[in-house]
């Protein structure tokens, strides 16, 4: 057993932290306030740093690093700006990774290479109004028409939606099949005919990450853009989400770490009853619980990432990491606001934003309720 980062992982931590502190952090509050996605900063620069394809082989424009390095990158970005963290996570885990895992060599060259390089942004479109936790309820359709597939339907809550050049879209290609059967995955380019963008959501948190509705109205895409085998969409979605959970768990971990550091620093400075509030046991205990839970979350996240890179099964571990880290992020940010008192409730301090941002980590990429079912099923099998 070795519980320490290797040189490459440490270097990635240093590099991303410096970048995040110097460039992502300064305007994070302003972007949140304005609901502004600053693509040049929040995505293009990640590409320049080699983060947009960090886990993919160099042959596909990636950095050839492991999942722990990727988790560290998302964690460090989210420590100062959760919206930037999820931009990377959704792009890499949900859009680029299924192409890497299930795409043909031609698809990889054509689509994975620009995604990995950061010249194109990716998105993942699974959720529909009636198909949230139950992806088997997918209603969007795909009908083969000669050399094309014709897509119809609407996807909602799509992270990077409207901005992404490449979208992984799930639709029912076999009308006769029921539930999770008969669904296929497709790669849809932004300028495909019949593809448009609907409502952009106004959200509680991660407000500088765009979340948008995708509308397919007789959208024609080349037959070659079917990803994986016809009818294997559900399997592709679930496999993709297994990995995606590592990204979201890392995002939650970063949010928790940022809020903890803010609370710790404030507790040292703020005086009441003639002493820093950090001298009171009530505040010390909050900080101790935060630090302990964050450390536990970090180990769960890195364990899931370690297993993913080592080629070991990691579905249960990534569900545990996502469940635990997101619950920790919520508890820690709520307590961090409490440590700040009235100031914590204002937008003058970052913990207010962090608490709003944390909430989504318990919901997306499989609600924590679904994670518990995944874990409960795995351990009672």
């Amino acid at each position: 057993m070795i519980f320490e980062l290797n040189e490459e992982q440490s270097l990635i931590r240093q590099t991303v932290r410096t970048f995040a502190e110097n460039e992502i952090k300064p305007d994070a509050a302003a972007r949140d306030e304005a609901e502004r996605f600053d693509r040049a900063l929040m995505f293009d620069k990640l590409g320049e740093l080699g983060l947009t394809g960090i886990i993919f082989p160099e042959a596909y424009g990636g950095a050839g690093a492991d999942y722990i390095s990727y988790a560290i990158a998302v964690e460090e970005l989210s420590r100062v700006c959760a919206s930037t963290g999820v931009t990377l996570s959704a792009h890499l885990s949900l859009a680029a990774n299924p192409i890497y895992l299930f795409g043909s060599e031609e698809q990889k060259q054509r689509y994975l290479v620009p995604l990995a390089a950061g010249s194109k942004l990716g998105a993942f479109a699974l959720t529909e109004t009636a198909a949230g936790s139950d992806a088997g309820g997918t209603r969007a359709t795909a009908v083969r028409d000669g050399d094309h597939w014709v897509l119809n339907g609407t996807k909602i809550f799509c992270t990077n939606g409207g901005e992404a050049e490449l979208n992984i879209v799930f639709a029912r290609s076999d009308k006769e099949a029921q539930k999770h059967h008969g669904i296929s995955a497709f790669i849809v380019e932004k300028d495909s005919p019949g593809f448009s963008f609907g409502k952009k959501e106004s959200k509680l948190g991660i407000r500088s990450s765009p979340t948008r509705e995708l509308v397919f109205d007789h959208c024609r895409i080349p037959a070659g853009n079917l990803l994986g085998a016809e009818g294997s969409g559900f399997k592709i979605a679930m496999k993709t989400l297994d990995g995606g959970r590592i990204g979201i768990a890392a995002q939650a971990l970063g949010i928790a770490q940022g809020a903890f550091e803010a609370a710790r620093d404030y507790a040292r400075e703020r005086k009441q009853f003639d002493q820093p509030i950090a001298a009171f046991q009530a505040v010390q205990f909050k900080l101790a619980d935060m630090a302990t839970e964050i450390e536990a979350a970090r180990l769960l996240v890195y364990q899931a990432a370690y297993k993913a890179s080592a080629g070991q099964p990691y579905g249960k571990e990534s569900a545990m990491a996502k469940l635990f880290a997101s619950d920790v992020a919520m508890r820690v940010t709520v307590e961090a606001v409490q440590v700040f008192g009235g100031y914590g409730f204002t937008r003058d301090f970052p913990v207010e934003r962090m608490m709003r941002d944390a909430k989504i980590t318990q919901i997306y990429e499989g609600t924590n309720e679904v994670q518990r079912i995944v874990i409960g099923t795995a351990v009672t099998r």
């Binding site: 070795i2 519980f3 101790a288 630090a291 769960l300 874990i375 351990v379 009672t380």
Partner: protein, 385 residues
């Protein structure tokens, strides 16, 4: 990072698991109910023969040199079957490591092999007093030198293994004038020394097979050579050695929590209500999912602390985090496991009733959860300086 156990650690884990299933599990229930104590002592001797009394001790002293990670996984496996055996093992290992860390060559040669070999059934750690629990600097047992010997007076409470411990590590005040915590020293006192009386055995909620007693020193004379470590350095010794013990207790709690959760899973797969297995109800699945997730996080915290210790790096904060989290989550896991068993869980017909009692003390001994939080908070606030 490499989060897999190496071959040696896996082997020790398997050995401990097999021994626990074959030897400890069958007697744990009867021992808890006050049955014949002999199997308890027989098992301690067998565990010594397997090398489990000095897992992190040099071979020259009869130890296994297996490291802190192996110690943690072994303790967890033992505790899955019998927490009382596990706590005895944990304290004996802690005493071995303390003697190895600060003892003279003579002290090491004299005592460690006897603990490791099973010649002594157990060793004891005598710090706590009636008025000095979380605040050990308040202890009042005294050690006065009369030239030829140290003379001990006072009493200690809650001493694990006292009636059969071959040797006690005893903390006593050697300089009454010194500032708080700076006039305490540490001594090795052999069981049976005149003037050392074993007082009343506590009636406890759990861990029944492991004796917990008061011990009383009345003009107890021990040789000059019984001083271990530097004079008046005892408080620092206690604080630093307890950090290692915390990995032991955290690992023990993890074992009990896992055992309870396994019982709950087995029961949930068998028991039917409303025409289906309990395991098919989401309410039950969630309890199990939460317990498994928290125990997995606890295991990683323990492994992390043990790794740091093994590397010779500072590990006090990591050990406190591991102890705090493992014991608190093991308590939750045991109570939820009992809840899953319903009324049957409240009866002694199912082992989960014993687990729920056995686990309770883990958030209390070797530093309460409250003390762990203070240690962690001080450390994270110090980082900031």
């Amino acid at each position: 990072m490499n989060l897999d156990l190496n071959e040696e650690q896996q082997l020790i884990q398997q050995t401990a698991r097999a021994f626990a299933a074959a030897q400890l599990a069958p007697v744990a229930g009867p021992l808890d109910q006050g049955g014949d104590q002999q199997p308890f002592f027989d098992n301690l001797l067998k565990l010594a023969e397997l090398g489990f009394m000095g897992l992190n001790v040099r071979a020259a002293y009869g130890g296994a040199e297996a490291g802190a990670v192996a110690f943690s996984v072994a303790l967890t496996e033992i505790a899955r079957a019998c927490a009382a055996t596990a706590v005895t093992l944990s304290v004996s290992n802690m005493v071995c490591e303390l003697i190895q860390a600060i003892g003279s060559a003579d002290q090491c040669r004299n005592y460690i092999p006897r603990i490791c070999s099973g010649d002594y059934p157990a060793a004891a750690f005598a710090l706590t007093e009636a008025g000095a629990g979380s605040d050990p600097a308040a202890l009042t047992t005294s050690a006065v030198s009369d030239g030829a010997a140290w003379v001990l007076n006072g009493s200690k409470v809650f001493i694990t293994s006292a009636p059969y411990a071959g040797v006690f590590v005893v903390w006593a005040v050697t300089d009454k004038q010194a500032p708080r915590g700076q006039g305490i020293s540490c001594f090795l006192v052999e069981g049976g020394t005149p003037g050392l009386a074993i007082g009343k055995q506590e009636k406890k909620m759990g861990q029944h097979a492991a004796a917990t007693n008061e011990i009383v020193f009345t003009d107890c004379r021990i040789p000059r050579s019984a001083l271990i470590g530097r004079l008046n350095d005892g408080f620092r010794i206690a604080v630093s050695e307890l950090a290692g013990g915390r990995i032991g207790i955290g690992s023990l709690a993890l074992g009990v929590g896992l055992a309870a959760t396994e019982c709950a899973i087995r029961y949930a797969l068998e028991r039917k209500q409303f025409g289906q297995k309990l395991a098919d109800f989401q309410a039950i699945q969630w309890k199990i999912a939460d317990a498994c997730t928290e125990l997995e996080a606890a295991r990683l915290l323990l492994m992390n602390a043990a790794f740091l210790k093994e590397q010779g790096r500072p590990f006090a904060r990591a050990a406190s985090m591991a102890k705090l989290f493992a014991t608190e989550s093991a308590n939750r896991a045991c109570y939820e496991a009992l809840q899953i068993h319903g009324g049957y869980g409240y009866t002694a017909d199912f082992p989960v009733e014993r687990y729920a009692r056995d686990v309770r003390v883990t958030t209390i001994y070797e530093g309460t959860s409250e003390i762990q939080r203070l240690i962690i908070a001080r450390d994270v606030l110090r980082d900031f300086d």
